[in-house]
């Protein structure tokens, strides 16, 4: 069957290209997909929307054959797809761009693209024909890459392109993109959507997953909303609004706490001209900021622009190459984690599973690990288990951590509860400074509200909060002042009260020069 778009002309097709019928999937006790049915028409762009954990990736993985559904069928052009066979899906014209890249850094672009595209048992790879085809596709859709470059040497944006090229190379007629813009800069994201629209015009059918409502409204023809594993709504883009979508996603109206006006105190943390270089690349380029007690300073930006380096620097896990750091007016040298904890800096890491907790250890161990050397939890190298358990219990009670006692393995907690545990251990001692990186990422609306309330309470009590977040609404709601981070540089701060999304968007695109205005706060 020839790919319809490869003819270049606009053919007319009737009936859906893809039908998902009654798909269910259970992980342990967790029903990730609950009897989901949806369709996709030829040349259509559908956005799949839902909170984290709503089951979007799971549904797409089932469609692509990574997971076996517990129930349900997938039809392509009316023909049922065998379950659990990515190869069959590829053959039927499904291409998938994964949420986490699946590429081999040691192989070349061409090799990455070619894998699995020929019959395994041929005596020769048709390399030159493949290169020609790859170049043709990349030219046609404006996705330029060097076919012979080693993949590991490419930038994230280029790798994303390779992911899409891989799908297109297989003559995909249905392209699934799982959060394709999560790691892209705004400009890259815009370019991507231009390309995607062009593909749709040429006859490709697309499903993309995104948390960014603006993108969804701009690019999708139709929007499907999942909630708690169920499909809860389906809307034409023209007939809905961002507000409606938000409510559909969450399932109910949630009132987030609001920031009350306050007067910030003394400067708690000051950076001037700080540069962080990792492996020859400047992740932070001479950044400066001041963080006051009793205020929340929001750092916005598209991920991958230096947020991680900033958070790690202030968390004591990264050393700076040059510049000054002052804590309460005193210049400090390179901080390690012990110094940071000692200085009363609380930390909420960006990646809670990877850094925030050690899943196989008990809750109490995770609660005390960062302060295990302090006399509160150990003496002469011996762990005071009793004190640790008591501390954990206080956090569990005080921060409403549900899902287990102090001795429960932390891995068993859900994301939101894990986050509450981390929040609890950082805030319990009333830190003077709190570094919060994406504190509400991956949490459902209720948990988000709880986290926000905690952050505002900390602010009220005089803690200086540095909030690093990609979520503009969150930052606007919480922060007193906002700075944008782009390519390792920090914009001058703006007052949150006067800021709107459009202007912040421009800042995140690096265009603060034009919008510069006097800094009121200082």
């Amino acid at each position: 069957m020839a790919a319809p778009f490869s003819g270049g002309g606009v053919a007319v097709m009737t009936g859906p290209v893809l039908e998902i019928v009654g798909v269910s999937k259970r992980f342990g006790a967790n029903l990730a997909n609950d009897d989901i049915s949806m369709t996709l028409a030829w040349g259509e762009v559908v956005a799949l929307l839902g909170e984290n954990g709503a089951g979007k990736t799971t549904l797409m993985s089932i469609l692509f054959g990574h997971y076996m559904p517990d129930a349900g069928r997938i039809l392509i052009d009316g023909v049922e797809l065998p379950q659990g066979k990515p190869r069959a899906a590829i053959r039927a014209g499904v291409g998938m761009v994964h949420q986490h890249f699946s590429l081999a850094p040691n192989l070349t672009v061409l090799e990455n693209v070619m894998t699995g595209t020929e019959g395994l048992w041929s005596w020769r790879s048709a390399t030159s024909a493949a290169r020609k085809k790859l170049l043709a596709i990349s030219e046609r859709f404006g996705l330029t890459v060097d076919p012979d470059a080693r993949l590991g040497d490419l930038s994230v944006g280029e790798q994303q392109r390779v992911e899409i090229l891989k799908a297109l190379y297989n003559d995909a007629r249905i392209l699934i993109l799982d959060e394709p813009t999560a790691v892209l800069t705004n400009i890259e994201a815009e370019r991507l959507f231009t390309t995607l629209k062009e593909m749709a015009r040429q006859g490709l059918s697309l499903i993309f997953i995104s948390h960014k409502l603006d993108e969804v409204m701009a690019a999708a023809d139709r929007i499907v909303v999942l909630h708690g594993g169920k499909m809860v709504a389906e809307r034409r883009a023209a007939e809905t609004s961002k507000a409606e979508l938000a409510e559909l996603m969450v399932g109910h109206r949630v009132t987030r706490p609001v920031r009350e006006p306050s007067t910030p105190g003394a400067v708690a943390l000051e950076a001037s001209g700080v540069t962080v270089r990792i492996g020859g690349i400047d992740r932070l380029k001479s950044i400066s900021f001041r963080l006051h007690q009793g205020e929340i300073l929001g750092i916005i930006g598209v991920s991958g622009n230096g947020q991680a380096a900033l958070a790690h620097l202030l968390s004591g896990t990264l050393a700076r190459s040059c510049g000054d750091l002052r804590l309460f007016g005193e210049v400090v040298g390179n901080l390690d984690v012990a110094d940071v904890v000692e200085a009363g800096i609380g930390r909420i890491p960006e990646d809670r599973n990877h850094e925030g907790v050690i899943g196989e250890m008990a809750i109490w161990e995770n609660a005390v690990l960062e302060r295990i050397a302090s006399p509160a939890f150990s003496r002469r190298g011996l762990v005071n288990r009793k004190a640790g358990m008591a501390f954990a219990r206080e956090i569990i009670d005080g921060f409403d951590v549900r899902g287990g006692g102090p001795a429960t393995r932390t891995r068993l907690l859900s994301g939101g509860n894990m986050q509450k545990l981390i929040l609890g251990r950082s805030l319990y001692r009333r830190p003077r400074i709190l570094i919060a990186a994406q504190p509400a990422r991956g949490l459902d609306e209720g948990a988000v509200a709880a986290v926000h309330a905690r952050l505002l309470e900390a602010r009220r009590q005089g803690t200086a909060v540095l909030l690093i977040s990609e979520d503009l609404d969150e930052v606007i709601a919480l922060a007193d002042r906002i700075q944008a981070i782009v390519g390792g540089r920090l914009s001058p701060p703006v007052n949150a009260d006067g800021a709107d999304a459009r202007r912040l968007g421009l800042m995140m695109a690096g265009e603060w020069q034009e919008t510069r205005e006097p800094d009121h706060a200082i």
Partner: protein, 349 residues
């Protein structure tokens, strides 16, 4: 058929699986025994009595378990921190030769109460030195230590072979490549007279208890566990990763070196290149059987030695090939590995 991770490990499984594994291993060994034409039930009985049926067999089993406990602890300590030390065999030999060298060339004249602890320390340090090379390569060049520590084994044994053929060669050994003997007063006292069981056995058990204590009660134990389970998380929580790994490595290499030292000072008295019938490798087996638990290592080592000594004696009694002993041990390992897997996973569909 897929495997799904268990969220909870029911107690009955933890108890039942090793039993099932042992039964499985014995059943498979039984097939081989009956192929050799020997009565299987009699063979099982002889394995038991061969390992524990007399004062001799019991002390022999425990003697053989001693180095296994120490190399088992060496592997367990390292593996728990995800440091894949496959080099216990080399560390064992280096510990052994260091003791022989120190005793014959340097310290031999010291009185026993000073000499013996000093020699044990020397053996342990030699083991540490050897493992620090792969660890350094890992920390400095991110070279995986599985292969490097494995390679160090061969270098170590060749090094020992060179020494016992050269500077450390015993001139009284009629040209045999063997090291000079450790002084008589440096030999470890016997636990039981007229047997080979020496106080090294008690030292090994004591160390297992100490290490259990370290792992479960100390800051270092908690930190090394964290480092093993999730390095990034450990770093974020302020665990000094490099330093922790160095300490773990020293503990692991030290235990393996000590195993060599104790084998020389407790049993053999001098070093040859066949001092170890693979104690270093068997230690990995023992550690896995014990699920990396230090107290479990004591039992796993005794179990392994029981299987070996018992099956060895059984083969002598029934006149079937001696190699059945190694086969039985290997089968026990394989069945135990599979059984342990099913304590962590269940089959789904």
């Amino acid at each position: 058929m897929r495997f799904e991770r268990r969220e909870h490990r029911p107690l009955y499984l933890l108890i039942a699986t090793p039993v099932i594994a042992i039964i499985g291993a014995l059943a498979l060994a039984g097939i081989l025994i009956s192929i050799a034409g020997a009565p299987v039930l009699d063979a099982y009985w002889r394995i038991l009595t061969g390992a524990f049926g007399s004062r001799l067999s019991a002390t022999e089993t425990l003697t053989r378990a001693t180095p296994l406990m120490l190399t088992g602890l060496a592997a367990a300590v390292a593996f728990r921190a995800r440091l894949w030390n496959i080099g216990a065999e080399g560390q064992f030999y280096l510990g052994a030769i260091a003791v022989a060298a120190a005793s014959s060339k340097l310290l031999g004249n010291l009185p026993a109460p000073i000499l013996i602890p000093l020699l044990l320390l020397v053996g342990a340090i030699a083991g540490m030195v050897l493992i620090l090379i792969p660890l350094w390569l890992r920390l400095r060049f991110s070279v995986d230590e599985v292969v490097t520590s494995l390679l160090m084994n061969f270098i170590a044994v060749l090094f020992v072979s060179m020494l016992i053929d050269g500077v450390l060669k015993d001139p009284l050994a009629f040209g045999w490549p063997q090291s000079q003997s450790v002084s008589d007063h440096a030999m470890l006292a016997k636990l039981i007279a007229r047997s080979r069981l020496h106080i090294g056995f008690a030292i090994a058990i004591l160390l297992a208890i100490v290490i259990h204590f370290i792992q479960s009660r100390t800051v270092f134990g908690m930190q090394s566990r964290a480092a093993g389970l999730n390095p990034a998380g450990a770093v974020f929580a302020g665990v000094p990763l490099g330093r922790t790994l160095v300490k773990v490595a020293c503990l692991s290499g030290g235990l393996a070196g000590l195993a060599g030292a104790i084998e020389v000072m407790g049993v053999k008295g001098y070093v040859t290149t066949d001092l170890s019938p693979g104690f270093g490798y068997a230690g990995i087996v023992v550690a896995m059987l014990a699920n990396l638990n230090p107290l479990g290592v004591v039992f796993a080592a005794i179990f392994t030695a029981t299987m070996f000594v018992g099956a060895d004696g059984m083969s002598r009694g029934l006149g079937i090939p001696t190699y059945i002993a190694d086969v039985t041990v290997a089968l026990s390992l394989l069945t135990m590995l599979i059984a342990l897997f099913f304590t962590q996973y269940r089959i789904r569909r």
